[in-house]
């Protein structure tokens, strides 16, 4: 296989759930001769598509963890990451986007641009990923690739242009017309493996000419040379391709390809397009943070002679031990190389180096700049950067959202407990949005994540992969507390119980901080609190904010201004000031109009228009606000903001209300105030709980 960087592509396949990207990947592997038989996603043959390597994915028909695989096409080496479609797992999508140079956006020719597509588009924008679009499922009833192109323009504001048009649609879908070569393509053989090139059918000649005009108009904006040659009537295939390629690289043009993966039509031309239009790793600028230079940005070079910089972007626990997926950004990676993990400072030696295909692997000795490979036996977390000796760089941190939901889990027996611990350790390393801790009061293990399904999947994986049977509690929303107004404090902590006493006094105020978080401002003058005890006060406040007095959730959006205080030459200590800070906070908190905040989710529901009324009702019943509804003929979409606490079990409700014809996605939007009645209920629950846990605790304090 070629190691020439110009013949390398790192692509992701991003799409709305059920738009057929796993089927598409399966076909790509087949035509690239990586697999020798095609399996369907929900395979009747009991095997399942090759990219869904986890049993669970096979069972649910969805792709969860992204498996990366390497294929060869037209003498190019293409690394493909099959990304998950469900929004609960977007961390996987985001991580994939970070390490890829370009993508194929798969759209369903019936559903077109859907809410998930909009989410993916936003991610593509965030990481500036160039992409081409593939309109799939042209064999379906209602297929309309022209409408999908219009939606790419209208809904996403993308300059999309058709590179191909279909010959027939729905059940009459036969082949496609290539608007660059102006030829008709048909896909013969049992698996569509033979591409037959013919002249364009007469009845489509006029339309093809018209669409080619549009293509040339759009492409010529990205190439003066093409513009001139069009005017002179001698636009060549090579010129058009170069112009489109440059348009894709600048993200100013989205070429749209069409086909049906399921019917084996249009895949080979799509692979040609990957090679023709998507950039190679050397054409993409990558930056790293220089940890030795105070976080200054450094542009990396693809030069194989430069010192190595590589990013571990995914860990997987396989039957042969931990597998670390790694992308080389600079220099190369060779067996026997010594590298430094710049987060931990640990040195590692590159042992077995592997090129991955979904479930099988090939051992290699060297990987070049831009390549994606896997390492065996390396201890690290996902997101760690490895550098050659003398370099101390970190690849830009991948954006990680805070978890919004938690679940108490309990192992059924001792064996399960051990296995559970092992599983949790693995999962938290693999997925930074999945967290776990042991609650100090209830002694329960709590897992946290981005949604109900997210946590469900991990509980299932614990059972299947680690044989760790656990029982689960009710999902719990990650509430926050905040103060509603400024409040002054003046608190003295004094303790005299024989031996050394404790003394500290702190004076200042708490202020609400609209942007959230915590700030500490020291305005103590004249050494009224000695300098060494200022950090103690800060530490005390930080500690007490972790568990708010109102409902026991973290307090956010607080600025502490420390103005004055008092100390005792003998009895004051670090601990005394920490305790004083905590006391001061508890003492005034309830007077600062404390509020309960809850995560508000951005929810999109899509489905047939006839159910729009039902959907409106479900949103308003859930304390939601409908932002907008869009009706496009028989298809409708409702965008709303709904508290996460009200969304539990929504998929079941929606399914039964709409006969399974509507679907929804949600993602975290912001924290918002809960209504007074709900806040009261939560406060009561918290009180009851703390009474139960420490029956004497209260009398002691009074």
């Amino acid at each position: 296989m070629s190691s020439d960087i110009a013949r390398m592509r790192n692509i992701g396949i991003s799409a709305h759930i059920d738009s057929g990207k796993t089927t598409l990947t399966e076909r790509i592997l087949y035509y690239c001769k990586k697999i020798h038989k095609i399996h369907e996603v929900k395979g009747k043959d009991g095997v399942g598509a090759t990219m869904d390597s986890m049993d669970l994915e096979r069972e649910r028909g969805i792709t969860i963890a992204s498996a990366t695989t390497n294929v060869a096409w037209a003498d190019h080496s293409v690394n493909i990451i099959d990304t998950p479609g469900h929004v609960d797992f977007t961390i996987e999508v985001e991580r994939s986007l970070r390490v890829l140079d370009s993508a194929i956006l798969v759209l369903c020719s019936v559903g077109g641009v859907q809410s998930q597509t909009i989410t993916v588009d936003r991610q593509l924008r965030r990481y500036n990923v160039p992409f081409i679009a593939f309109v799939n499922k042209l064999d379906r009833i209602g297929a309309n690739p022209f409408k999908v192109r219009d939606q790419l323009a209208d809904k996403l504001g993308r300059n999309a242009v058709l590179m191909q048009i279909p010959i027939g649609l729905e059940t009459a879908f036969q082949g496609i017309i290539d608007l660059v070569a102006m030829k008709a393509l048909y896909f013969d053989g049992a698996e569509g493996e033979t591409v037959r090139i013919e002249a364009i059918p007469d009845e489509l000649a006029a339309e093809a000419a018209k669409k080619r005009e549009e293509l040339l108009d759009a492409a010529s904006l990205h190439s003066d040379e093409l513009m001139e040659s069009i005017l002179e009537g001698r636009a060549t295939e090579a010129l058009v391709k170069a112009a489109v390629r440059s348009g894709v690289a600048s993200r100013g043009l989205i070429p749209v390809f069409v086909g049906s993966a399921y019917r084996n039509k249009g895949i080979q031309p799509l692979l040609d397009a990957v090679v023709d239009y998507l950039p190679h790793p050397g054409e993409v600028e990558n930056r790293a943070i220089d940890l030795d230079a105070g976080g200054a940005e450094r542009v990396l070079t693809a030069d194989p002679g430069a010192k190595t910089v590589a990013l571990a972007f995914k860990l997987e626990d396989g039957p042969y031990g931990q597998l670390t997926y790694i992308r080389v950004y600079q220099g190369r990676l060779r067996k026997g190389d010594e590298l430094v993990n710049t987060r931990s400072g640990q040195k590692i030696k590159v042992g077995r180096l592997i090129r991955m295909h979904a479930d099988t692997m090939v051992e290699i000795t060297e990987a070049g700049s831009g390549d994606i490979v896997a390492l065996f036996g390396v201890e690290c977390a996902s997101g760690d950067t490895f550098c050659g000796p003398g370099l101390n760089l970190a690849m830009t941190a991948i954006y990680v959202p805070e978890p919004v939901i938690s679940l108490a889990i309990e192992p059924v027996d001792k064996n399960a407990a051990d296995r559970m611990a092992k599983a949790l350790n693995r999962f938290t390393k693999e997925d930074p949005t999945f967290r776990t801790h042991v609650d100090a009061e209830s002694n329960q293990t709590i897992i946290q994540g981005m949604g109900e399904l997210h946590l469900d999947v991990y509980v299932e994986r614990m059972k299947r992969e680690y044989r760790a049977e656990v029982t689960t509690g009710m999902p719990q929303v990650a509430y926050r507390e905040a103060i509603g107004q400024k409040i002054d404090f003046d608190y003295t902590h004094k303790k005299q119980t024989g031996g050394a006493g404790q003394y500290a006094r702190v004076i200042g105020r708490l202020e609400p901080l609209a942007k959230g978080g915590y700030e500490f401002s020291n305005e103590v003058k004249g050494g009224r609190i000695p300098r060494e005890f200022i950090p103690s006060c800060d530490k005390g406040f930080r500690a007490v904010l972790k568990k708010g007095p109102l409902i026991g959730f973290p307090v956010t959006g607080v600025r502490v201004v420390l103005l004055d205080g008092q100390y005792h030459p003998v009895d004051s200590s670090d601990i005394a000031f920490q305790t004083a800070a905590q006391g001061a906070f508890r003492h005034v908190y309830m007077k600062a109009k404390p509020q309960v905040l809850e995560p508000i989710m951005k929810v999109s529901v899509e489905g047939p228009t006839e159910f729009a009324g039902n959907v409106f009702a479900t949103i308003s019943q859930r304390r939601g606000t409908i932002v907008s509804s869009v009706e496009d003929g028989t298809f409708s979409r409702v965008d709303a903001e709904v508290p996460l606490a009200e969304m539990f079990g929504y998929s079941t409700v929606l399914r039964s209300l709409t006969q399974g014809k509507a679907e929804f996605t949600m993602e975290f939007l912001k924290y918002g105030r809960v209504p007074a009645a709900v806040a009261e209920l939560l406060t009561e629950q918290h009180l009851a709980k703390s009474r139960k846990e420490s029956p004497q605790g209260r009398s002691e304090r009074s």
Binding site: K155, T609, G613, N614, F616, V627, S629, E631, G633, S636
Partner: protein, 242 residues
């Protein structure tokens, strides 16, 4: 009694001038139409009317036949931003998020949307989802395509649910657009189903508001309002008469 900044803004709004001229306001069960050529500022006026209701804490449904929801959202943000520039208003608009929760945007594709279906969805929003709207804004409906029958359906609907409905009507015909009574010639057939009809016309570099019909009575009158060309807000016309 002293007024809050917000109350003052509501009281001094040029929309109070408009209400006064049309017998105290459009009123529930009635249809109001703002008519002009394309690009004169109908959408801006409709959004200003909606924003004025939102400021008063009254829920609004904004029905649009245009293609992008995000454009409409931007309209509202811009109008509120302009309002916030008025002296001392910034703090009063701090609860923008709260105000905007009382607005729902319903977007329909013109070719696919039959009025029966639009009204069905509107009813689902107001009745099934208990969205207590009093005012409905309808922007971008093609009057020529829809015909008086559709407007009559809207009017019956408004009467049944107790809504006031403001439309924009784009005038596309050849000059003269208006007959000698100031009635837009394209809307002559609609007069029976419209309660209040206002036309927007360029006079020099300003856009003026003319009342054509007031609750069924033909009552041509200069409303002494204009569209502020920089803020796109409705403003009192303080200049001397021509």
């Amino acid at each position: 009694m002293t007024l809050t900044v917000k109350e003052e803004l509501i009281q001094r709004s040029p929309l109070r001038v408009l209400e006064k001229s049309i017998s105290g306001g459009l009123g529930r069960g009635n249809i109001g139409v703002l008519a002009s050529r394309k690009g004169v500022g109908k959408t801006a006026c409709l959004v200003h009317i909606a924003a004025d209701k939102l400021l008063q804490g009254k829920p609004v449904v904004h029905v649009s036949y245009a293609s992008r929801v995000d454009h409409i959202i931007t309209w509202y943000e811009d109008i509120f931003k302009e309002l916030a520039k008025k002296p001392r208003m910034r703090s009063a608009l701090d609860d923008f998020d709260e105000l905007i929760r009382k607005r729902v945007i319903m977007n329909f594709k013109q070719d696919g949307a039959r009025t029966e279906q639009v009204l069905r969805s509107l009813e689902a929003m107001i009745v099934q989802a208990s969205f207590p709207a009093e005012t409905v804004i309808v922007d971008g409906l093609e009057f020529a395509q829809a015909g008086p029958g559709d407007i009559r359906m809207f009017r019956e609907f408004a009467g049944r649910l107790g809504l006031e409905v403001w439309f924009s009507a784009s005038l596309k015909g050849e000059e003269p657009l208006f007959d000698d009574r100031g009635i837009p010639r394209e809307l002559e057939g609609f007069l029976g189903v419209i309660d209040v009809l206002i036309s927007l016309q360029h006079h020099g570099d300003h856009v003026h508001f003319n009342l054509v019909q007031d609750h069924g009575r033909l009552a041509p009158k200069d409303l002494r309002l204009m569209l502020d060309p920089t803020t796109l807000l409705i403003a009192k016309d303080v200049r001397t008469r021509r």
